[in-house]
Amino acid sequence: MNEPVRTCTLGELMIYQIALTIEDGILAFHGFGSPLVQLALHLAKRSHAPNLVLVAGATYAVNPSPLFLTPTSNDFVMSVGAECDLNIEELFDLAASGRMGRMFLSGLQIDPWGNLNVTRLGDAGHLKLKLPGGGGGCNLSCDAGHITIWTAAHRAPPDQQGRRRFRLVDRCDFVTSVGHRSVDGRPRSELPYRGKGPDWIVTDLGIFDFDATGHARLNAVYPDTTVELVAENTGFDFPVAADLACARLPEPGIIELIRRLDPMRIHRRELSHDDRTREFEL
């Protein structure tokens, strides 16, 4: 039980880094099927953001205390101890009226402007792969105050022919949720959205913010990654922050909290097989 925590896993680092993007006193919503984000919200609520209005995806429970993390989001386990409940229309109304401070989105394709695709690979005429779809992500990418993008599949190892299928791509086949450029290339500022768009991308290789033009910029790497590694696994060129740093690792207390929140380590399902063994000395 109580042996001191000396290392943190990649998943725990990502959860911590996603949590750091969450301001106190706002309303933040995690969608469904996103254990890393669910844990990040519960971590934030229990550490630096005690006044966070935490709305759980699928159940729309407010400030619940899940007994443990389940692989399915719309489960009573996830709404145990909720302070109150919203419903689907109320949650989305809050976002549309500018009262959702932050939302978390991912995609099978992420472009330099933070546009995301979870709808399909290939074009309308020739559908290569049908993805599950974006839930309410499209609406919230416009309405939520800020967006934290995350993916645990940034790394794109080459296949036998040396080709890489990038997660961070130059262009999305379909824009499910919008970042800093519309599907037809207009800057976000020209669109009457409530929200300011994505400000962070937390991946398994590092952390991006966005420059003044709305383009992803590498902001931090991890103890076992470098700018070069990130570059060769990314389908577009990106600027690097002048003050590029190594991402801060969580304190032992934070790590213990994450482990208590996810006793079945459901969040590891988001990680690639190899990444499940990545650890960092504190």
Binding site: F32, G33, S34, P35, A58, T59, Y60, A61, L67, F68, T70, P71, T72, S73, N74, D75, F76, S79, D85, N87, I88, E89, F92, A95, A96, N117, T119, R120, A124, L127, K128, L129, K130, P132, G133, G134, G135, G136, G137, C138, N139, L140, S141, C142, D143, F174, V175, T176, S177, V178, S182, V183, R186, L191, P192, Y193, R194, M264, I266, R269
Partner: protein, 306 residues
């Protein structure tokens, strides 16, 4: 207005309200309170060409796709989250062209249902513009707001032909009580031409009223008592999600359309003349009792996911 005094009927009569080509809104969400028994009966009835609309779904829509019931999907998500990942039958049906892809987004769906509920020819929405959904939905229009000068997207009313719901309780008049997240069920009930409902139990009105009426009777066309009617999805507090059965479902579905038909649809749907036989097929009493043990302890609840 559905005002007849007694709306009870058989599952077969209930499902007969759905016609080939109907736009159908399936209640519940993901692994929670899907009207699975009604959907299995729908498959037995050989319905074809349905357009399904909804927010976040999983095994319900995937099973309908695997059975060839669906022609168009207007869902906003169909998958198994981090539990099993993508929905195999849904993917195949979309990629083969058997199912036309008309993905929607949750709030767009809400606004379209609200337009139907309040009899408006459209609802305005600020989002969606600038994304791929405008091209996917040529029926969406835009306008310049006369107050702000902003460009708004107008989405037309969505009035499903039938909403298919599973609730905890009903009375014979059709008043419904749902515990836990209603998801979009209340919106579906208000927006749809017909509302057909399976319930865990039909109560005397007084007992139902004490629990509270979630959906008033006059929206509801017909009700049928089908215990465990949401299995293998959950209907807390009555029973939890049957992850083991869903794992079995997924394993068959993943192996291809043929294997799914042979190893899942046959034994659990077409070869089960009714719900009672289905409950035997999935393991009967013993399996069902296990799903009610979630209350006993955190460990017991956890064990249902391992």
């Amino acid at each position: 207005m559905f005002t007849q005094a007694d709306k009870r009927c058989s599952l077969s009569e209930l499902v007969a309200q759905v016609k080939d080509g109907d736009v159908v809104a399936v209640g519940g969400g993901l692994s929670w309170r899907e009207p699975m028994a009604a959907l299995r009966e729908l498959i037995r009835h050989g319905r074809r060409g349905l357009t399904v609309v909804g927010s976040a779904h999983g095994i319900d829509i995937d099973m309908l796709c695997g059975a060839g019931v669906v022609a168009v999907s207007g869902e906003s998500y169909v998958g198994f989250e981090q539990d099993f990942g993508m929905a195999p039958n849904y993917r195949r049906a979309c990629e083969s062209g058997a199912v036309q892809v008309r993905d929607n987004c949750c709030y767009t769906l809400v606004q379209q249902l609200r337009a139907a509920i309040s009899g408006l020819p459209f609802m305005p929405i600020r989002s969606v513009q600038g994304t791929g959904f405008e091209a996917l939905h040529p029926e969406f229009k835009t306008m310049i707001c006369p107050y702000t000068g902003d460009r708004l997207v107008l989405v037309p009313p969505l009035q499903p032909d039938v909403a298919v719901l599973h609730a905890h309780f009903a009375d014979r008049h059709g008043n419904l009580h749902i515990e836990g997240p209603p998801v979009a069920d209340i919106l579906f009930a208000k927006a749809s031409r017909k509302v057909i409902v399976t319930v865990e139990e039909i109560l005397e009105h007084e007992d139902l009223a004490e629990k509270g009426v979630t959906i008033p009777y006059f929206y509801v066309t017909a009700v049928c008592e089908v215990r465990y009617g949401a299995h293998p999805t959950s209907c807390y507090p009555n029973y939890a999600y049957d992850r083991r059965h869903t794992q079995h479902y997924y394993d068959q579905a993943r192996q291809g359309a043929e294997v799914f038909r042979e190893n899942y649809l046959k034994p659990f749907v077409s070869q089960c003349p009714d719900h009672r036989v289905y409950l035997e097929a999935i393991g009967g009493r013993e399996r069902l009792n296990r799903l009610t043990t979630w209350r006993e302890s955190d460990e017991q609840w956890r064990s249902l996911y391992e």
